[in-house]
Amino acid sequence: MSHLEIEHAKRLCLKLPIIEPSPAASITDGAIAVFHQLIQRQALDKELMIDVVDYRHLAQGSQVLLICHHSHYALDFADGVAGLLYRDRRAQGSLSERLSLGLSRLKAMAEAIIEPLALGFAGDRLLLRLEDRLWAPNRSEVAQQAQTVIARALEAAGHPDSAVVALEEDRRRALGFSVKLQRALIV
């Protein structure tokens, strides 16, 4: 698989870890109201916000979601890491373009909820997944190539010298990377 092909991978997924409060699970009740308020205020630019989904009854995964036409946002607890999750659903363009878009949308969402939910983020860390098993199957050779493509895409998005490391985990999961940014996405 060439670098060019990985550029086709769709459904980019970014997760910004939450470090405050700890445990972050206590914020989910408040998040339901905050997400509804974002819709009322039409607070996210260029997102068609549709609905809020309540999965607080689940022990893992995304517990409160804001469903938009182009993206899903969630307070997510997969992998034992609490974080703000951005899932690109219908974005167009190259991986670089979509990564750039994703980072700006994730930042905008983080800024929108940081105060009402009294959150603290690990702003220089990201979990990145390519939820596209057609263009980015979870294989070591694909991970290796994708690592380079993602680093380059991050550079193009204004984050040069980011450290991108492929996650060693269950190969059935979507291809995943941990990312350390030189410049924090959000402080």
């Binding site: 509804h36 819709i39 009322q40 068609l48 989904v53 309540d54 607080r56 009854h57 219908r90």
Partner: protein, 738 residues
Amino acid sequence: MATWKSALAGAISEPLAEEIDGFETQMILRRQGALDEAVFAELRLRRGVYGQRYDNGRRHDGLVSRSLDFPSGETTKGPGTYWDAPGMMRLKIPGGLLSAEQLEVLAELAEEYADGVLHVTTRQDIQFHFVHIEDTPDLMRRLGAVGISTREACGNSVRNITACPISGVCADEAFDVTPYAQGLNAYLLGHQAVQDFGRKFKISFSGCGGSACALANIHDIGFVAATREVDGQTRRGFRAYVGGGLGAVPHSAQLLSEFVDEQELLPLTHAICLLFAEHGEKRNRARARLKFVVAKFGIDRFREMVAEKRQTLADDPRWSTYLAPFVEQPVASQAPGAASGASRGTALSHWQQTNVRRQRQSGYSTVTVALPLGDFTGDQSRALADIARSYLDGTVRLTVEQNIVLRWVSDADLATLYAQLADAGLAQPGAETIADITSCPGTDTCKLGISSSRGLAAELRSRYLARTLDPAIAALRVKVSGCFNSCGQHHIADIGFYGVSRKLNGYTVPHFQLVIGGKWAENGGAYGLAIGAIPSKNVPHALSMVLDHYATARAEQESFHDFVRRVGKAELKTLIAPTTVVPSYFEDRSFYSDWGDPREYTTGDMGQGECAGEVISPVQFGLAESEKEAFSAQLALDAGQAEQAAQAAYRAMLAAANALLRGKQLIVEEAEQIVDNFRRLFIDTELFFDPYAGGKFANYLLTAHDARDELPSLDSARRRVEEAQLFIEAAHACHGRM
């Protein structure tokens, strides 16, 4: 450019690949406007591609009703359904049987195309939510590659065939019904005989008559396994029931045949399907289920018609070939063993008590994975796949109570299995108890939802999981539907709820009707009736009152069903009466939003409340009068007084209609005048029409009026009572719109 179509070429059967390609073409034609939107809607439904709430491009955000301006503009995927709006995708999982490989692919699809969650339905199916229609062909291909179809999962066809999830390992069954459910599914899928139905058609297989595993009584056809000695040999077959169904007005299935030999199972079903296509209503959806065909002809004549139709069918080798490969035998990856004793009071022992059942086969158990609200994540699905491979026969079964059953667990593995489930967040106790609440999607995603059934179920679940309960209370079933349509099967729960709304001083308040008297056992052996509408936020309190009363006033060993019959619904209605009161908007605003949804509960502009006191309109007084009549109808019904019940139900509808007429400043008294004016002002104008059910509820009054001098059977009186309740609900909704 790689595509799933090219990547999976050869992995999908050619006919299925062609069907999916065909659907993709239909999508293109629809986008070009070359295919009618209503036709396309039915085509996509038959492929499992369903609509979802807000797909009409509007949503009330709690402050204002806002339009959702989807990028594809005015393009629709059905009448009033925008192309870009997220939808629901339903799969077809016959008997709820899933392999480890299938669980893994489902996990991928949930993550890539939906919201990351797999949802188990009350038909042992899986649903994905928030799916874009343009992703559905690839979704179908990837499912097809692991043997899962979405064909006829929705639409006017044979829906997923359900079967007892512990069939083959159950001590009470006649035999394992699994191969019959699978065989009938394979035979009917895409069959010409099932393509011209006016409504959906549901079939189930139970291994025994006593339990509720497959709910034969609520199905269009319910098969219950039975054996018979013929010429010294044991023959397998089924007791066949027809014409059952829940929906707005439930019907109990009637016995069609005491014994249908296994060789006759497919042709008999084929014949019934042909009759349904021929005689089933096509225009009036409200009367289009098989139950109305059976009612129209009567069970005796219907039985003759089935036999006659069966004789016209040419022999088909498929009627019996599917039976040959199946040999029922124990399947286990681990040797049987003895459970190591868990210390009392530990989480493991609590879980074992509620979630583990002994199999018929010594040394093995079934384990029920209690899924909250039927949901599990992609990661949890992969964990279940690992468990299925490590501990089981490689498969799991979904249940109609929205759980997952693991079979063939060696008793020696129970403790380690529990630990693995706990790691995956799947070891919640309380399976098949009062905390294990069934719920339809309700207002979360369903277009018809009135109240938040999932919100209420989640609230009740967390409350009852946290309590130590009297065993008699713990064993009760609670089921919640977001509207009267009974997708949450509220009619057959010990305690059911269905969503309604009430308008009070200009504010709309979410409520649930409390349904009492249903019976989960005996395949859904009795249907409950609504005894009163409770504001959503008071439902937990009302439920506690009813349960406390049962705990303190029940006779020894008295079941809840028997207790309700003994004390009577009037006493229970009086008991919960204080909980039906809604505080004013200014006293407690929490009553004006629903569970799990802080938006103010309304669908339109709200009026202002009266701080100085409650202002009750003549319409409200009239509707209250109608509810009183409806309740007296129920009491008469409980006393076996069919005629009195039907008459009271009729009077209840007249009172509700008259209440609405008073809202039009029209004062009339005679029944004929009420009906005539109601027809003129509310039916001809369609003012009474439900946005989704149309004139269905209005017809209940007209039918009752026409039949007012007839002597009803107990069954028809029961239906009239049910119809009266729905008519009153429709009158409340109409009043809200006036």
